[in-house]
């Protein structure tokens, strides 16, 4: 198997069946009113999201606040029950399993949260925090679990002397390392990082990102990496999915998506980091107008059309389907690509 680092260079799709395959995932939260909890509408937090994560691959999920990134994270781990759609882990459908049936699968997929300190019970020692998954899964307990916790702390660059300390005694970066150690306790194959470095300052962010990369090489992990910081996502991801209003509007190899965005929304995002020397600095900056509409009342047609500088009449009536947009399985959901295909001329740049 190619090492993840080498895999990043050629950006070819991962060989073999994907570790996780998400198809048409939908989550609508009902809005209820009154004493009888009458449903008066739905928040379409996730509205038909599909992507795959290969073994040893990192998929980045980017988007504004409220675009449904974190909901996707909770859906693929079944911390939330999807309204519809399919989530396959290693070929097994998990969207319809009961929580009891899920328990043995949970050792294979773990999550690292944005705020590590509040994801630890303040009354638990670091040892208990790290060994909780082991004990809950019945993998090990007592001294054996403690030894494993010490080993994990060592793996993430902390000392086993910290085992009996409490979460509040650590700084943000240290706490996030503990969060990673906890997530790795059961030897998972997939790690979902929900804004895992967003709360850290830049130098610590880099340390944690490098730790995550190192662990990926050593342990052959797959990551679903969620962030709103495009530089971070681009740095760590093999492929990127750009989310807008509960939908994936563009996906493809990380560098290709960031340097040559096909969807107008991605273009505005990439424009926001146009000053990055890696992008050449000369990119024309597209400033997006207005704010993201409410997911409880999404616009008809393309979700981005009210803010899109290139919108035309079709965009407000018809939801664009994902269209092939380049090599490496790139797709973008934009009617402009359709026109490009029909008229054979470049649009937008």
């Amino acid at each position: 198997m190619a090492s993840p680092a080498a895999h990043r260079e050629d950006t070819a799709p991962a060989p073999g069946p994907p570790l996780m395959e998400v198809t048409d995932l939908v989550k609508h939260f009902p809005i209820t009113r009154g004493l009888l909890r009458r449903t008066v509408g739905h928040v379409r937090a996730v509205d038909g999201v599909s992507f795959t994560i290969g073994a040893g691959e990192t998929v980045g999920l980017v988007g504004e606040s409220g675009s449904g990134k974190s909901t996707v994270a909770r859906l693929v781990l079944r911390l939330l029950d999807p309204t519809s759609g399919s989530v396959k882990f290693d070929g097994q459908e998990i969207a319809a399993l009961s929580q009891r049936e899920l328990t043995p699968l949970r050792r294979n997929m773990q999550i690292v949260f944005q705020d590590p300190v509040s994801s630890f019970d303040p009354r638990m020692t670091i040892c208990s925090v790290i060994t909780e998954p082991l004990e809950a899964q019945g993998i090990s307990s007592g001294q054996q679990a403690r030894d494993r916790a010490a080993e994990l702390l060592d793996l993430v660059g902390l000392s086993s002397r910290d085992l009996d300390k409490y979460p509040h005694q650590f700084s943000g970066g240290q706490a996030q390392r503990i969060g990673i150690a906890r997530a790795l306790a059961t030897n998972p194959r997939l790690l979902v990082c929900d804004e895992a470095v967003s709360a850290l300052d830049v130098s610590v962010q880099a340390q944690v990102l490098n730790l995550l990369r190192k662990l990926q090489v050593e342990l052959g992990l797959s990551y679903l990496f969620i962030a709103h910081d495009l530089n971070v996502v681009r740095y760590i991801s093999d492929r990127i999915c750009v989310m807008y209003l509960g939908r994936v509007v563009e996906q493809g190899p990380a560098d290709a998506v960031m340097t040559d965005p096909k969807h107008p929304y991605t273009r505005t995002l990439a424009g926001a980091i146009a000053a990055d020397p890696r992008t050449g600095g000369g990119t024309r900056r597209v400033v997006v107008r207005g704010e993201m509409p409410s997911p409880s009342n999404p616009p008809p047609g393309c979700p981005f059309h009210p803010r899109c500088p290139q919108a035309f009449d079709r965009c407000s009536t018809e939801v664009p389907a994902p269209l092939p947009a380049g090599e490496g399985g790139r797709t973008a959901s934009c009617h402009l690509l359709d026109i490009t295909a029909v008229n054979g001329k470049a649009v937008g740049r």
């Binding site: 911390l79 773990q110 949260f113 509040s118 303040p122 909780e132 899964q137 902390l158 970066g173």
Partner: protein, 300 residues
């Protein structure tokens, strides 16, 4: 926290942090809440007096000394005697037993039931289990306390056991409300979601995360409720439907003494004083614990 943040990347907590983490419990209570610490000492003395009553009490609390009706406090009757010639000091000591016994039994029974209902209800908030349990609690709360107590006492007859049953019913809603509210908060904590992601069962989450994080507010409520129970027990005994005579109880002693208030005030002063002091101590301890557990006031 700031001193930790400033530390190097490899974790070695400053010695100050380690020392402070070790200095919890009574030492910190004494330092931050001196009044509460004094209250705790008073409570310990009360408990000791109750536990050691047979060794401390100079007389049998029910023995009637025919030669000394309504004796003035002094020697050998430290707090005087009552209208039947019983030694008041001995009766106050044994009365503490009754009060504490009733209060502890009520707290254990009512507290545990109320907590279990509250925790389950809070974790499944919004579901039918929650709705059913909370409507029952609402009904219980809608009945005035004294009416409920009178009803149970009339139904089951006066005895210590029945007093405990009646008072338990009275305190269940209090514990239910507090633990349900806390559980609602804990349920939304990230560490609960994190535990679920790790494959913890609901039972395990409630046991490992729910209960330990509930205990601080419950302890506060318990100490405040303790005072209420002692008063309620006395009130029931005062009304003649609590602890049946001749078992000494502060409430019953007040009731007896009220008839001789003018000629033998010591009959009410001493049990009344003990009651007041006990209730005050538990109230002060409750307030102190509330501040003690408040993370905003914590020096940690």
């Amino acid at each position: 926290m700031s001193e930790i943040d400033a530390g190097p990347a490899t974790v070695v907590a400053p010695p100050a942090v380690r020392a402070r983490a070790g200095r919890r419990g009574f030492g910190r209570l004494l330092r931050t809440q001196p009044l509460g610490a004094i209250a705790a000492v008073v409570i310990v003395l009360f408990v000791a007096a109750a536990a050691l009553a047979p060794f401390i009490a100079p007389f049998d609390p029910t023995a009637q000394h025919r030669d000394a009706f309504l004796a003035v406090p002094g020697s050998p009757y430290l707090m005087g005697t009552d209208d039947l010639g019983r030694d008041i000091f001995s009766r106050v000591l044994y009365g503490a037993r009754t009060s504490l016994l009733v209060a502890v039994c009520t707290l254990v029974a009512g507290g545990v039931i109320g907590m279990v209902i509250g925790v389950v209800s809070g974790y499944y908030a919004g579901g039918w289990v929650d709705t059913l349990l909370q409507r029952i609690m609402d009904t219980l709360m809608a009945i005035p306390g004294i009416v409920l107590l009178l009803f149970i006492a009339a139904l089951l007859g006066p005895s210590i056991r029945n007093t405990v049953i009646a008072l338990s019913l009275l305190v269940i809603p209090t514990f239910n409300r507090v633990s349900r509210g806390e559980m609602l908060r804990i349920r939304e904590e990230l560490y609960v979601e994190s535990a679920r992601a790790s494959g913890c069962s609901t039972w395990r989450i409630l046991r490992r995360h729910g209960l330990p994080n509930l205990l601080a507010p419950i302890l506060v409520v318990a100490s405040l409720t303790f005072a209420i129970i002692i008063i309620a027990e006395s009130a029931l005994s005062f009304l003649g439907i609590g602890t049946p005579p001749p078992t000494p109880s502060w409430g019953a002693m007040l009731s007896d003494g009220s008839r001789y208030m003018e000629i033998a005030p010591w009959m009410v002063v001493f049990p009344g004083g003990a009651l007041t002091l006990g209730v005050l101590a538990f109230n002060l301890l409750g307030d102190a614990l509330r501040d003690f557990f408040d993370p905003k006031q914590s020096t940690r």
